[in-house]
């Protein structure tokens, strides 16, 4: 197991800057997720760590050893891809054993390790089967087994669950998470699915346009988004934004939207005549007649335990996640109040969050 250290990594493809100047450390035993929309540079970053791409600039250290220019095969890293490339003419057992055979591991040792991994993944009963008849989930378990059997220093996974249907993807993500808890292999996992990232990661690096925008624990990124991109990418539904113009002074603990004062965490920085956005998570909105803001209910989405209410307010559209027991009707005028300690004010031009007391509880940056 190993720590992976990226120092000033950059990757250009011709004129296109796929990854810009990134430095971060993936800790030993960590489940580290690279998250972002397609084209953000997450797969390129993973491929550089794996040795499938060479960085244009920067260094990669694996357990303190500079591996930047080492071939993939010399790095002692395992992979799992979205399309599980199994050898169709081999049985499950041979598929899993394949990397060991290449390394010249003695047969008895190989057999023992294959069976151990198969047990971990609960596919022991499939070992003698041909891979061609396997379900999507079982194929993916075999692919995982092949990556794990090597006991490589680290394991790279590129959207390994992307090809599975939603319900099954969730099941596999729970399984993968539990598996990681047991074996604690340093894992770098690429996905565009924020739910998957939130559920599995020890830490998430959110990427956009080739830049790592924020690194932190799932809850930290959720509660204290560095910018509007992160805030709008994470959460289901994501954060809503109310847009307004104002001047704000450090220390101020309310903002004026249309003459109504909305309390926010005390600000640590100010702006002059700025285009701003008030960021509100759906579960931090309450619908009550006493609310400081008014709006009209645009839609109500019943989900059993909860409901999502979309409200048109003067400064934008807002989502509220409230108990399904509260009665709300489309077209109804409602009052809104907020969990003021959890609100974020953004500079709507640069997108960056304004520093406030909320961010002082941050555990990583």
């Amino acid at each position: 197991m190993a720590e992976i250290d990226l120092q000033g990594i950059q990757k250009r493809f011709g004129d296109f800057m796929a990854v810009r100047e990134s430095s971060f450390t993936i800790r030993d035993g960590e489940f580290f997720v690279l998250l972002g929309p397609s084209g953000c540079g997450k797969t390129t970053t993973l491929r550089m760590i794996a040795g499938l791409e060479l960085p244009t600039e920067g260094k990669i250290l694996l357990d303190g050893e500079d591996v930047t220019y080492k071939r993939a095969s010399q790095r002692d890293i395992g992979f799992v891809f979205q399309l599980f490339a199994l050898y169709p003419h081999m049985r499950v057992r041979e598929n899993i054993a394949f990397p060991l055979k290449c390394q010249g591991v003695p047969r008895a040792e190989s057999k023992r390790r294959v069976e151990e991994v198969a047990k971990l993944l609960r596919i022991e009963h499939l070992l003698e089967r041909s891979v061609s008849g396997l379900s999507g989930g079982d194929s993916q378990r075999v692919a995982l087994g092949r990556a794990l059997v090597r006991r490589a220093k680290a394991c790279m996974m590129d959207e390994p669950l992307g090809a599975l249907d939603a319900e099954f993807r969730h099941l596999m993500s729970v399984e993968l998470h539990a598996l990681h808890d047991r074996i604690r292999a340093t894992t770098v996992y690429v996905t565009h699915d924020q739910t998957e990232a939130m559920a599995m990661a020890d830490r998430i690096a959110v990427m956009n346009h080739g830049v790592v925008v924020q690194i932190g624990s799932p809850q930290d990124i959720y509660d204290r988004p560095a910018d509007m991109h992160v805030a709008g990418f994470i959460g289901s539904p994501p954060m809503s934004f109310l847009r307004f113009k104002s001047s704000l002074a450090p220390g101020q603990s309310s903002v004026q939207l249309n003459g109504e004062a909305i309390r926010v965490p005390p600000l640590r920085q100010g702006v002059v005549e700025g285009e701003l956005a008030l960021g509100v998570r759906p579960e931090h909105v309450r619908i009550s007649d006493l609310g400081e803001m008014r709006g009209e209910v645009f839609s109500v989405e019943y989900m059993g335990t909860m409901q999502i209410v979309t409200i048109n307010a003067r400064h934008g559209q807002l989502k509220a996640r409230i108990s399904a027991r509260q009665r709300v009707r489309v077209g109804e005028a409602v009052g809104l109040s907020f969990d003021s300690e959890r609100l974020v004010v953004f500079d709507a031009v640069s997108g960056s969050a304004l520093k406030s007391r909320l961010f002082e509880g941050s555990v990583s940056g």
Binding site: A166, V174, H177, A178, D181, D193, T195, M198, A199, P218, Q219, Y222, D223, I234, G235, S236, P237, P238, R281, P282, E283, F298, S299, E301, Y302, M303, G304, T305, I308, T310, R321, A324, V330
Partner: protein, 336 residues
């Protein structure tokens, strides 16, 4: 728009009964969602109503008129499929206008223009009317496909998983929009999906299918709060409902014949306790809340907790089930 009546319809494919003695009314202006896993018979029922299949028994009536023997073209239905099949050589405008330009309709071009523009605004594609249909994103193509169905005023709109090929964010947006458009038009919609969120959020009523049979029809609240049986209960709820034998945990408010208890988050009370019988095995973060996976003996239990409650693997708790759903030995709901 029309009322659609499905009267004791059966459809076989060889030995397999895809639809078994189904009776269902879709009243004028209703958004009825058929929910069920793959192979439950939802798409077959939609195709029977569209006239793309003929029933082996039973009748289909539109506004009391028997259409069982009518071909699709005479039924006045609009269909949207999962795979948007647009005409690639036509612009967005011409794709939307296509159903109106059928020679038999003789609609003047000025009227076509008016209706296309109206629908394009509705599905928010009006800024791309002149684009070629192939130069659109997946979400835009699907909006054009939905728009092409909406441009007509058929007896009923039939939609077969129209959102399932889209990414999560767009799907969430279009869910809200589609429901709005339907309400604005007062349209009658029969919508097929295997996604419970789509069913719960959009439906006036949900029809749940199991192996070709219609098991329950009711409002989202009805089927969620009073599922007819274990099968229906298992289709709805995030996280999925937990089923436990009656003697697994302390239960409050179970009727005498209860064999199986169905516990959702709202039925589960957790109290941290060092000597509690339940052990936390996994905490899944969603941001807005956490999924807590517990083990009580051999029994798994998944529930939602607010992120403020700091549960961690290894923590123990006492669990009480308050007024959960209760089922008899045959899996039917018992009402206290």
């Amino acid at each position: 728009m029309a009322e659609v009546l499905v009267d004791r319809v059966t459809k076989r494919f060889g030995d397999a009964e895809a639809n078994r003695d189904i009776s269902l009314t879709v009243p004028n202006g209703e958004f009825l969602v058929l929910l069920g896993p793959t192979g439950a018979g939802k798409t077959t029922l939609l195709r029977l109503i569209a006239g793309l299949e003929r029933p082996d028994a039973g009748n289909i009536l539109f506004d009391a008129r028997d259409v069982t023997d009518d071909p699709p073209a005479q039924r006045n239905v609009s269909v949207v499929f999962q795979q948007y099949s647009l005409y690639p050589h036509l612009t967005v405008f011409d794709n939307l206008a296509f159903p109106l330009r059928a020679p038999a309709r003789r609609i003047p071009e000025s009227e076509i223009k008016r209706r296309v523009e109206e629908v394009a605004r509705l599905v928010r594609i009006d800024h791309k009317l002149a684009n070629s249909a192939t130069r659109l994103s997946g979400g835009e193509m699907q909006r054009v496909a939905i728009g092409r169905a909406l441009v007509r005023r058929p007896a009923i709109y039939l939609m077969d998983e129209p959102l399932s090929s889209l990414d999560a964010k767009l799907r969430a947006e279009l869910r809200v929009e589609l429901k709005h458009i339907q309400a604005d038009l007062g349209a009658t919609v029969l919508y097929v999906t295997h996604d419970q969120v789509e069913a719960l959020t959009m439906a006036s009523r949900i029809g749940i299918l199991e192996q070709g049979r219609l098991v329950q029809v009711g409002t989202p609240q009805d089927v969620y709060e009073r599922p007819a049986n274990i099968y229906v209960a298992a289709r709805l709820g995030i996280p999925a409902i937990n089923f436990l034998p009656i003697d697994a945990l302390p239960v409050e408010g179970a009727p005498p014949r209860t064999a199986t208890v169905g516990a959702r988050t709202e039925h589960i009370e957790l109290v941290p306790a060092l000597d509690g019988p339940a052990e936390v095995v996994l905490v899944e973060h969603l941001g807005s809340e956490n999924f807590l996976h517990l083990l009580v003996g051999q029994q798994k239990l998944v529930t939602l907790v607010p992120p403020g409650e700091r549960w961690h693997p290894g923590a123990r708790a006492r669990v009480t089930l308050r007024r959960p759903l209760c089922f008899d030995t045959a899996g039917q709901l018992l009402v206290a």
